[in-house]
């Protein structure tokens, strides 16, 4: 690889490659180099670890974040990397508090000797009584040191337990709210289906299968799967929105394996899905194979450039 080539593959480009955001031709070139070129393979690995770490630390933003959640997290292997990075980060958090404990433990006894009665202050010459007193003081200090250490350990355990408990509470709240949203959105999907069926009498013959997709989230959750039976005409995707910020939306269906666009929607407006808003699109079932897909949602502002909102990953299973 020439030095010119090396320069061309900066970290930004490698990041876009890992997020499936490069044009097919460029991606193929990097596919090849990732196997053939030892240096690039190593660089790519380093960039990937940093990318995953940035995600678990909450440093990923904008399109990178959207792509990470829609593309990167669509693979079980890569989700494993994220779990691993999270464990490493959590460990780092624990380790960061450890030195403080050690310092306090060491410093506390060091302040004590100043309070010891000195031979001059006591007015007594060194005697067996004094040595006995000093011995008892030393034992007391050891016991106090032990109790202090034990106390610190218990405090740390309590803080950890509290942190875990609050994490469980938060997760429970999130799951409950996710479940509520799912229920509301399911009802909305049914209504949407009924509306579609009511459009013309011929549509009564159409069989459709709905799939409600929640906004891509930071958590690592299982990929939604839709089963498409033989004879199904339409897949109705209901892409729920975090916030309804655009007058018009567009949806593109991509094959994450090669980033190829398989289908594009016309301009759509959002509809209500319970308390939330959603964008509903109907895709011909015949277009789908048994594989993973990404429905990329783009917001079209009244003025300015379209903005990628996020990618909704799902898996189609043909029955």
């Amino acid at each position: 690889m020439s030095s010119q080539d090396k320069g061309a593959h900066d970290d930004q480009q490698l990041t876009r490659y890992l997020l499936g955001a490069l044009p097919a031709e460029e991606a193929e070139r990097l596919d090849q180099l990732s196997i053939v070129d030892e240096e690039l393979a190593a660089r790519l690995s380093a960039v990937e670890y940093d990318l995953v770490d940035a995600y678990v630390r909450g440093e990923a933003r904008g399109e990178d974040l959207a792509r990470f959640e829609s593309f990167y997290l669509s693979s079980a292997k890569r989700r494993e990397k994220v779990q691993f990075a999270r464990a490493l980060l959590e460990r780092e958090g624990g380790a960061a508090t450890a030195p403080a404990t050690v310092i306090r433990t060491v410093v506390s006894p060091a302040r004590e000797p100043g309070k010891k009665p000195s031979p001059r202050r006591s007015g007594f010459s060194p005697s067996a009584f004094q040595w006995g007193f000093a011995g008892a003081a030393a034992v007391l200090m050891l016991v106090a040191g032990y109790l202090l250490l034990d106390n610190l350990r218990l405090h740390r355990q309590m803080s950890e337990t509290r942190a875990r408990q609050s994490e469980f509470d938060r997760r429970e709240r999130d799951l409950r709210s996710e479940l509520d949203q799912q229920r509301t959105a399911n009802a909305q999907a049914q209504q949407e289906l009924q509306r579609l069926h009511g459009l013309q009498s011929g549509l009564d013959q159409i069989t459709a299968v709905p799939l409600v997709l929640l906004p891509p989230s930071r958590g690592v959750s299982a990929m939604p799967t839709v089963s498409i039976r033989a004879g199904t005409d339409l897949l109705v995707l209901l892409l729920t929105l975090e916030s309804d910020d655009f007058p018009v939306y567009r949806v593109v269906l991509r094959d994450p394996a090669n980033n190829q666009v398989l289908w594009r929607s016309a301009n759509m407006t959002s509809t209500s899905a319970g308390e939330k808003k959603a964008v509903s699109v109907s895709i011909r079932a015949g277009l789908l194979k048994q594989q993973n897909y990404i429905a990329e949602l783009t917001g079209i502002p009244a003025r300015g450039n379209p903005e990628l909102i996020g990618g909704y990953s799902f898996r189609a299973v043909l029955k």
Binding site: L18, S34, Y49, S75, K77, K81, Q83, R164, A222, P256
Partner: protein, 199 residues
């Protein structure tokens, strides 16, 4: 390597030598090529990247045995060419018999974290992951352990500054340091997956 067609011991030795290109790596080149191929298939969102990597290496070994030698392309390049064929077959759904595409890739860490909710709560699974992490860190030589913990410590600017200091202290270029850290992290990940699967 996968079944169906299995190379003889001599053929496999010949295959390893060919991958080594004259410098005996003790099987390291083979493992590294398998890792790169698996990552390639994973980036293509294939469901069983490890199986496809094995399938590719199997085909390369078979070609080598059939032809005696392959000289028109470097070993890595030849592996890439065959990997592309394997990927195209995967896309067409003409998957090789021994490769199962119906089942999603097994994720040991995920299994550890989220499967069998009755038996294994998420908190327990997380604890298991942390225990495995400690176990795997303890398996590393002390220098490697210190390097990886320091290399990945901190956020953004702090992290970058820390890396510069670490590189200076170890007398390494930033590039060499990042490669070393990656290799250690790769090892750690392999150990972690194994540990989560076994415990």
């Amino acid at each position: 390597m996968k079944k169906d067609w299995a190379p003889t011991q001599d053929a496999f030795r010949h295959f390893l030598d060919w991958l080594d290109e004259g410098v005996d790596s003790g099987g390291e080149k083979y493992l590294e090529m398998r890792r790169r191929l698996s990552l390639y298939f994973d980036r293509k969102n294939c469901l069983s990247p490890d199986d496809l990597a094995d399938e590719t290496l199997n085909r390369v070994a078979r070609k080598l045995q059939e032809q005696g030698s392959i000289t028109d392309l470097s070993p890595a390049h030849y592996c890439y060419v065959l990997a592309k064929f394997v990927f195209l077959e995967y896309l067409r759904g003409a998957q090789p018999a021994q490769t199962s595409f119906e089942e999603p890739a097994h994720s040991a860490v995920q299994t550890g974290l989220s499967s069998s909710p009755q038996k294994d709560s998420e908190a327990q699974a997380r604890e298991k992951l942390h225990k495995c992490l400690e176990h795997c860190l303890a398996q590393l030589p002390e220098k490697d352990r210190e390097l990886i913990l320091e290399y990945y410590r901190g956020e953004q600017r702090t992290k970058i500054e820390g890396r510069y200091r670490l590189a200076e202290r170890l007398g390494l270029s930033m590039n060499a340091l990042s490669i070393r850290a990656c290799r250690i992290r790769d090892k750690l990940e392999v150990c972690l997956i194994k540990c989560c699967r076994e415990t």
